[in-house]
């Protein structure tokens, strides 16, 4: 899975591009952690507009990202979630745990 990163005033945005499944989740998590450690953002936005498929592996990535940001005193929110990933987040009740726009 590819990512595109923008960063301004310690507000980072990571755009996820492609299919988010178990096959790609480990590599994606490593990329996100590298960006968090390099940029040390206070707020991180995960942009889902480029996600064409997501299963529960995406939930694990989001929860781990939230945990990592919390450890560093920052927050995370999700933006532009497309229809299929939205159904997965809803089935898992993730909106109660992570902010979604």
């Amino acid at each position: 899975m590819e990512i595109k990163v923008t960063n301004e005033n310690r507000c980072a945005e990571i755009r996820l591009i492609g299919e988010l499944d178990h096959h790609g989740a480990k590599g994606l998590m490593a990329k996100i952690e590298r960006e968090i450690e390099g940029l040390l953002p206070l707020q991180l936005v995960l942009d889902f507009s480029g996600v064409t498929f997501m299963d529960s592996s995406g939930i694990a990535v989001v929860l781990r990202t939230k945990q990592r940001m919390k450890e560093l005193g920052g927050t995370v929110k999700l933006r532009k979630i497309t229809a299929q990933p939205k159904r997965v987040f809803e089935a898992a009740g993730i909106s109660r745990i992570v902010e979604m726009e």
Partner: protein
């Protein structure tokens, strides 16, 4: 219930086959004229079942996975994902939301998602023999598209 059509696929428990399996299921289901939401649900449920087989059934080796796709009467799609791996000791516990024996990259939501995205989920498992997950989903019939 007698199958009106079926396809059986056999593949190795390599994670690169997760995408293949869900695309194959979506391609097979296409003949039932599903909506985009229904197709998404089928792909997601298959992805969860196949990932479970890859991660949990064969944790330290590459094994065989068979996916049977059937069309039953009344527009019902039946998908069975079978492995010959280590099996599930306690199926009831495994089906609980957030329960996982997997690593950090697992959420424990696989069975919950399979349940909420299909109409019926049956799990048969025996330790050291393997697991079989069967899901049924009725695809809504769109009157205007059938002549």
């Amino acid at each position: 219930m007698r199958a009106e059509n079926y396809v059986t696929l056999e593949f190795l428990s390599r994670s690169s086959n997760e995408g293949f399996a869900r695309m194959a299921a979506a391609a097979f289901a296409a003949q039932l004229d599903p909506t985009l939401d229904e197709l998404g649900d089928i792909k997601t449920a298959v992805s969860e079942a196949v990932t479970n087989a890859i991660v949990h059934a064969y944790p330290d080796r590459i094994g065989k996975i068979v996916m049977k796709m059937k069309i039953l009467s009344d527009n019902v799609l039946e998908l069975t994902i079978r492995d010959w791996g280590c099996g599930i000791e306690n199926v009831q516990q495994a089906r609980q939301p957030l329960f996982t024996t997997g690593g950090e990259e697992r959420s424990g939501m696989g069975f919950t998602i399979m349940e909420s995205f299909t109409d019926r989920l049956t799990v048969k498992s025996a330790p050291m023999k393997g697991t079989s997950v069967t899901m049924r989903k009725r695809i809504s019939q769109r009157i205007t598209s059938r002549r």
